[in-house]
């Protein structure tokens, strides 16, 4: 853990940690090989039903389809509102998609295979060992959002491609290469997990320093070397830690811990192994831009835009793709660049590069974007959540009533106050963005005066974004 003197909002000690694994039962559970195999198997079962429902659902109405409702209402909302901000990449821990390639590589599901793993074990190209491929993959996936969120079969195709891709990539490349660099869902989880209130970290550096070989990296009879190709003994950010728990199992000194921590601590971290990069900055821009476009498309009043997104006409759909890509890849970063440039000019600093200012301040968009997505998720859950009760009882729309909830009518909940709820969430996360923005300004610029002047344009940008979303949410 990197010690910092800074305090968030002047009061929150960013070095504060509470180790959850200091409790013996917790550590015992997490060190068992049943973890995370059990939740993975449970999710595998759920996703089999999702795939079957999405396949048999075909082109039928998405609101009565188990696949659509569980993936795009329940899972997405859980991910954005609880799993990522609370538990970091806990979803990656229990994601069932890589289980087939893991099995093929290890030839074992439960026990540990020592020695070289199976598969071709190619290394992923260094130039692509970042978020760029995931950025494009996620953006391209959203081109089809107007179909995936309403048409069960489109969801089936998407999930099928991801599962197939994870398996084949796992046969060709080493360990969890797919999760690290290709999975469309992985990128934003990695980015936003920097804000999470949970982390996996080593406890005592001296123990790790003197421990050879580093079993958390190379593995031993208790577990595999980090499947995510990290070095658990010294990583400082959640971004690429898939929380697979192998390092807790392989450390003979119980020197790995799962900690509770103040949200957002990783935003201030910059090490040689984990530098702040343009790939992550663009991920933040893309996520913010997609949130705006999705809001306009799915919760906004502009019918013509909805028609474009759902492909009512080919020219309209191509127009949407062109606008969506340009807006996310160029316009949002371009606007932010102007504010970054103003920051440099106002600060009066000539030593720090504009690229550094642009990249580092882009990390303020992590809490901002997370808040926006949480607000958007509230807008999905409250009006549509009641459909979930219905599809649980009748997952294939075959007239079943497993839990007696199949006849529950569509019942929007608290929609009268929804806008205010979304606004409140947004303001809380705006506060985090401003709080961390100020700390980043102090990191970027040489002295407090420069930092104050240089932070003004960024504060203005964050305020404008917040006002735009407040207008969208509250109307």
């Amino acid at each position: 853990m990197i010690e910092t003197k800074d305090k968030l909002f002047g009061v929150v000690d960013l070095n504060a940690r509470f180790e959850l694994t200091k409790f013996k039962p917790v550590r015992a559970i997490l060190k068992s090989r049943w973890m995370p195999l059990l939740p993975i198997l449970l999710n595998l079962f759920i996703f089999v039903i999702i795939l079957l429902a999405a396949f048999t659902g075909g082109y039928s109405a998405g609101n009565y389809n188990f696949g659509i409702m569980i993936v795009w209402i329940l899972w997405w909302v859980l991910l954005m509102m609880m799993l990522v901000p609370g538990l970091s990449r806990a979803w990656c821990m229990m994601c069932p998609f890589p289980i087939f390639s893991d099995w093929a590589q290890r030839t074992k599901l439960f026990d540990v295979k020592t020695g070289k793993l199976g598969g071709l074990n190619f290394k992923w190209p260094k130039k692509l060992s970042n978020m760029w491929v995931m950025n494009i993959a996620f953006l391209v996936t959203t081109f089809f959002s107007g179909f995936m969120t309403v048409m069960p079969f489109a969801t089936f195709i998407l999930l099928g491609i991801i599962i197939l891709g994870a398996f084949i990539v796992g046969l060709v490349f080493e360990k969890r290469t797919f999760c690290l660099y290709l999975c469309p869902v992985s990128g934003f989880q990695g980015l936003y997990s920097q804000f999470a209130t949970v982390e996996v970290r080593r406890k005592d550096w001296d123990i790790c320093k003197n421990h050879n070989p580093k079993t958390c990296f190379v593995g031993n009879e208790n577990g595999y070397g980090c499947p995510w190709l990290r070095t658990p003994f010294d990583f400082q950010k959640n971004t690429y830690c898939g929380m697979c728990l192998e390092c807790l199992k392989t450390c003979p000194y119980d020197n790995m811990a799962i900690n509770l921590r103040p949200p957002g601590v990783d935003l201030l971290v910059e090490t040689k192994r984990e530098p702040k990069g343009l790939d992550e900055a663009w991920k933040a821009f893309i996520m913010l831009g997609i949130a705006i476009v999705f809001y306009l498309a799915f919760q906004g009043p502009w019918g013509f835009f909805k028609d474009m997104v759902r492909g009512a006409t080919l020219p309209g759909y191509l127009g949407y793709i062109a606008f969506h890509a340009t807006f996310n890849l160029l316009i949002i970063p371009g606007v932010f660049f102007v504010f970054a440039y103003l920051s440099k000019r106002l600060s009066g600093n000539t030593d720090v590069s504009l690229k550094t200012i642009f990249t580092n301040f882009a990390y303020t968009l992590i809490p901002m974007g997370l808040g926006v997505w949480m607000g958007f998720s509230v807008g999905i859950l409250l009006p549509n959540g009641s459909y979930i009760l219905r599809v649980l009882s009748d997952p294939f729309a075959w007239g079943w009533n497993l839990f007696g909830t199949a006849q529950i009518p569509w019942t929007p909940v608290l929609t009268g106050v929804m806008g205010y709820l979304q606004g409140a969430i947004l303001i809380v996360f705006f506060a985090f963005a401003v709080g961390y923005g100020w700390l980043l300004a102090k990191q970027i610029y040489a002295d407090a005066k420069q930092a104050k002047r240089g932070f003004v344009p960024i504060l203005t940008f964050l305020t404008l974004i917040t006002l735009v979303f407040l207008w969208l949410f509250v109307g």
Binding site: F55, T56, G57, G58, Y59, S60, A61, A104, G118, G119, L120, F153, F156, I157, G160, I161, L164, F167, I168, L171, V172, Q299, G300, P301, G303, K306, D307, P383, A397, W398, G399, P409, W410, T411, P412, T415, G416, V417, M418, G419, L472, G475
Partner: protein, 286 residues
């Protein structure tokens, strides 16, 4: 077994072909195995044939509707477009009859307050009926904005308009700024409106924000608020035959027509898109 390049290539090919075949099968068998989908349970409003007609200048009399069975239509929040409704009118009760030339629809709903005036932060109560002009409409009214090129015919009764039309009373303060700007022949900010022909606006719409008054206003109506029961009763009246099939909903004895309801509670802040709406209701002429 050692996983070699040829094995990986073979697995990749087999799985990819299998997946593509599965997708093709799914696309050509959209719902998988044939499934008997039960028909949607829609509320039905029967328009009974009667020989009588109603004179709306005499108000709305309960006795005229006493022998006609009502249909309770559940409403839900409008949450498709902003602004979303803040309050819910849970249901309206609808009745209908027709004679050889006219259709009558009666709508009542609980409302503790009569709101017939407009002011800053003050809005009127209202109710509307919506009829699709085309036959092939989406299965839900929630997507009112996407009813196709032909759109819908909407009959919108407003308590404020009712007061203006029937009582000839103003519903808002007559305070206008720059009604006539000095030296200008025309109104600079248009606040005058054409003389009301009815308590009901006869409208057409093809999607959200396109609601437009028709050139010919064919619907009459009247509403009364019953203070003792805290209830609105509104009657709509229109000729059975359509004046213009492109704009007017078509009806006829022995036919069926979809319709939907919307209601506004002015004291709860309902106006415009802030309203409670129903799903489609089957209107049957017997």
């Amino acid at each position: 077994m050692k996983i070699t390049k040829p094995i990986v290539i073979a697995i990749t090919l087999v799985l990819t072909v299998a997946f593509v075949a599965l997708v093709y099968f799914g696309m050509t068998h959209a719902r998988g195995a044939p499934v008997a989908v039960p028909p949607l349970k829609r509320a039905t409003l029967v328009s009974h044939y009667k020989t009588k007609s109603l004179d709306l200048t005499q108000g709305v009399a309960l006795a005229d509707w006493a022998d006609i069975p009502g249909t309770e239509v559940e409403l839900v929040y409008q949450v498709m477009v902003l602004p979303w409704s803040k309050a819910l009118i849970p249901a309206v009760t609808a009745k209908s009859f027709h004679n050889d030339t006219e259709l009558y629809v009666y709508v009542s709903w609980k409302d503790d307050a009569e709101n017939r005036n407009l002011s800053t932060g003050e809005f009127g109560d209202a109710v509307a009926l919506m009829f699709p002009l085309a036959d092939d409409v989406p299965p839900s009214t929630l997507m009112m904005g996407f009813l196709g090129k032909q759109g819908v015919n909407v009959w919108h009764w407003k308590a404020t308009q009712d007061k203006e039309f029937w009582s000839k009373e103003s519903v808002s303060n007559d305070a206008y700024s720059d009604f006539h700007y000095p030296f200008e022949e025309q109104e600079t900010l248009i606040v005058s409106k054409s003389a009301l022909q009815s308590a009901i606006s006869d409208l057409i719409a093809v999607k959200v924000t396109t609601t437009t008054a028709k050139a010919t206003q064919n619907v009459q109506g009247r509403g009364v608020w019953d203070a003792s029961r805290g209830e609105w009763r509104v009657v709509f009246k229109r000729a059975l035959s359509a004046t213009n099939l492109k704009e007017d909903a078509a009806f006829g004895h022995g036919t069926r027509k979809l319709m939907a309801f919307a209601a506004w509670a002015g004291d709860k802040g309902d106006r415009g898109g802030r309203k409670s709406i129903s799903d489609w209701v089957q209107l049957e002429f017997r």
